[in-house]
């Protein structure tokens, strides 16, 4: 905790600022992001799931600044059948309030000084969450044997569910499985027949030969209730999600996979089917790793001039996407990214494709591959250099691709104005970052100014790529665990994470006395290659303290 103490003292907060009794997981309040589908495929229909309802009031109660105007709740059809559980909000609220005293007073210095950031030993912050879990009114009964999410999306039910949303772009549900435009190889059965089960069933405690307390907590939470408590899940995930559960947790936290397990298969099947239909609608080949090269003559002839220009831009960028990670250089992954990025751009003409969005897709590919490969990798193997063509069957790839698309869509819907003309959201974040650092690390702020380094010069990239380029992929995944668990994780919390990152390297940066050295250090990357999950946890804790200090207190930042 030395780093944290030092950090707190830099903030002018005494060493007594964190009585151990307040060690809490920083619950995350009504997470609005992820629930608004920005691409027009799914329209928010207003009513939120019970979890969100249960969560938001709490967040408001504890922090009037949080969560009031969050866009797009999970649609009632998507959100996990919360309608009948009218009691859920109350229980969620009470349990939530009980375990998050620290979040009650963001913006107030004195009180915030008592806010203890979440524990950094991944998973240990979940004890309270685990206790609170059973308080949820619904789904206490053990549904461990449920097959929710297992092999979802492979056996296509194809959109005939009663919960079909108002989908303007969704083709009529008449398409039968046999006529499904799912990629040919996925032929509806391959994963099972090939012995693949993906996504995997929610892990039961016995699934892992090695007992991992954090993993067990997730297994328990994800498998013991019919409707997963999102507040509990966020609370647990805030401190990090085990690789084995990350894919499933991210899908849920992003509002893509319903919290209600009974609905999950149907929803995921439908969404995956929709993705592939959309791919055909926009004129791309759905064949996995169809090797369309960058040369114009191989582009689909049906595209308009502007569409061709868009696709060519994406094709130019694919080889330049995380070029140091072999995984992303494989034709399978590049073809996947091409379709995902193109479809998103076409569906979101206000932003279209902006460089850096390609970076944002990579963590999802990574996490879903890691989910599939869990337990299959040998000691000397890593996702980074995974031979996709031999290790991952096409049907699994097709699921990973559609899931990546929907999760990326969900993420981007929370930061759309990062990528619209003039990038106002991004400019705002950079500005806020400067204000926060000025207040919290004046020496560094002055040093940057003295040497003529502007925040926009380095933080533009940090905000455009959400720190994907500043960390190793595994570290990004850990960081995003917290982002996904936080209120406004990408749109807001991220700024404080950037500020904490600068503060973390304050001494090193202040030791640079030349503009070139300082700029290069910031631009080429801070020394985070060796960062462990604990380092990220510490960073997030510091970011949480900063956010608590300044959130909603704009005057402090002026």
């Amino acid at each position: 905790m030395a780093g944290l103490q030092g950090f707190l003292s830099r903030l002018g907060l005494g060493a007594d600022s964190g009585p151990s009794s307040t060690t809490t997981s920083p619950k995350s309040a009504g997470q609005g992001e992820g629930n608004s589908w920005g691409d027009g495929n799914i329209k928010p229909t207003g009513k939120s799931s019970s979890e969100d309802e249960g969560n938001s009031p709490n967040s408001r109660g504890s922090s009037p600044h949080l969560g009031e105007q969050r866009l797009g709740k999970i649609t009632s059809s998507e959100g996990g059948g919360g309608a009948p559980s009218a009691n859920a909000p109350r229980s969620a609220q009470s349990s939530n309030t009980a375990r998050v005293p620290g979040r009650a007073m963001p913006g107030r210095l004195m009180k915030a000084s008592r806010t203890r950031p979440p524990p950094t030993d991944g998973g240990s912050g979940s004890n309270t969450a685990a206790k609170s879990g059973p308080k949820e009114g619904n789904g206490v009964s053990n549904l461990q044997s449920s097959s929710a999410s297992s092999s979802g999306g492979v056996e296509l039910n194809n959109g005939s569910q009663a919960d079909a949303p108002s989908s303007a772009l969704s083709p009529p549900p008449s398409s039968s499985p046999s006529s499904s435009p799912l990629p040919p190889p996925s032929s509806a059965s391959s994963p099972k027949s090939s012995g693949s089960s993906f996504p995997p069933k929610p892990s039961s405690p016995s699934a892992s030969p090695v007992t991992n307390p954090a993993s067990e907590k997730f297994s328990k939470l994800l498998s013991t209730t019919s409707t997963i408590s999102l507040p509990s899940l966020r609370s647990l995930s805030w401190s990090g999600v085990p690789n084995s559960h990350r894919g499933e947790v991210w899908r849920i936290l992003l509002g893509y996979s319903p919290a209600n397990r009974g609905r999950r298969d149907a929803v995921l099947d439908r969404k995956r089917g929709e993705y592939w239909k959309s791919i055909e609608q926009v004129g791309l080949s759905p064949v996995p790793s169809s090797g369309e090269s960058g040369s114009p003559e191989t582009l689909p002839a049906t595209l308009t001039k502007s569409e061709t220009r868009l696709l060519r831009q994406i094709l130019v960028d694919l080889p330049r996407t995380s070029p140091t990670v072999p995984l992303y250089q494989s034709p399978e992954i590049q073809t996947m990214l091409k379709r995902i990025l193109y479809l998103w751009a076409v569906r979101n003409p206000g932003a279209s494709y902006v460089q850096g969005i390609n970076d944002l897709a990579t963590p999802f590919v990574w996490v879903f591959l890691e989910e599939y490969m869990h337990g299959k990798l040998k000691d000397n193997e890593s996702i980074s250099s995974l031979d996709v063509s031999s290790c991952v069957p096409p049907p699994v790839l097709s699921i990973i691709e559609s899931d990546t698309y929907w999760c990326l869509t969900s993420l981007l819907s929370t930061i759309q104005d990062h990528y619209t003309p003039n990038q106002p959201g991004l400019q705002r974040q950079v500005h806020t970052l400067g204000s926060v650092v000025k207040r919290t690390d004046a020496r560094l702020h002055t040093h940057l100014q003295d040497l003529g380094v502007e925040y926009i010069q380095f933080a533009f990239k940090w905000c455009n790529c959400l720190l994907v380029r500043e960390f190793q992929p595994r570290t990004v995944a850990r960081l995003w665990d917290t982002y996904l668990s936080e209120e406004g994780g990408f749109s807001n919390f991220h700024v404080y994470a950037c500020a904490a990152l600068l503060t973390r390297f304050s001494a090193e940066l202040r030791a640079k006395v030349d503009f070139g050295d300082l700029f290069t250090t910031l631009q080429q990357g801070l020394p985070t290659e060796e960062w462990s999950d604990d380092d990220v946890s510490m960073l997030c804790s510091q970011a949480f303290v900063l956010k608590s200090l300044f959130e909603g207190s704009e005057k402090h930042l002026e």
Binding site: R320, P323, G356
Partner: protein, 209 residues
């Protein structure tokens, strides 16, 4: 020549790399600054820069070369760097006609946002890919004449003309700056000053391909 006042250079020149995305601005810069090349260097987001120290006519010159993101959406941030630039390397890709067509647009941007006396060098990159060429050398030369800029066809990959192009830009910029300095401070007139109009007629000595 001894450096002035504890600095390790006699002259500090700011150069700017401009051109559409994917034409090879970053690769050219890496080749020039570090003599290295990677076919898949990560896309530039926002702005980056490299330092290169060179000797020009006996002067130790520190080149601060700003690399910009080429995508239109980033123009808000990149355009703010036009102002302080002394010289601009305007780059297109000889295998991509669109990037060549965009040069006129870039020139307009420079006229609009940069200093009026900024030196420009036109660079047609990737000239090693002769079989994919979409823009002829003659077209490049013609455009260079039109915009009064020296012209080079380069290959960052095979290291053709890269040094020449940057050095030309550096020399032009240096001379232009010294001319300004000498006119404002006549006592410094002993320094050699080339006719700045050299940039209006030069079309690059080293051709390739």
């Amino acid at each position: 020549m001894a450096a002035k006042e504890g600095k390790d250079y006699d002259m500090h020149i700011k150069l700017l790399m401009l051109g559409d995305t994917g034409v090879g601005k970053t690769c050219l810069l890496l080749r020039y600054a570090y003599d290295s090349f990677s076919p898949t260097f990560i896309t530039t987001i926002g702005i980056d820069f490299k330092i290169k120290h060179v000797e020009l006519d006996g002067l130790h010159v520190k080149l601060q070369i700003w690399d910009t993101a080429g995508q239109e959406r980033f123009r808000t941030i990149t355009v703010s760097y036009f102002k302080g630039a002394h010289g601009v390397a305007l780059v297109y890709d000889v295998t991509d006609r669109d990037t060549f067509e965009a040069i006129r647009h870039w020139v307009k941007q420079i006229q609009e946002h940069a200093e009026s006396n900024v030196s420009i060098v036109l660079i047609g990159n990737k000239c090693d890919k002769e079989q994919l060429r979409m823009v002829s050398r003659a077209e490049g030369e013609e455009l260079a004449r039109e915009i009064n800029a020296p012209f080079f066809e380069t290959s960052a990959k095979t290291n053709i003309n890269v040094e020449d192009a940057f050095n030309k830009m550096a020399v032009m910029t240096k001379n232009s700056m010294m001319l300004q300095e000498s006119t404002s401070r006549p006592s410094d007139g002993s320094l050699m000053v080339d006719d700045p109009n050299v940039r209006l007629t030069g079309s690059g000595k080293g051709g390739c391909c």
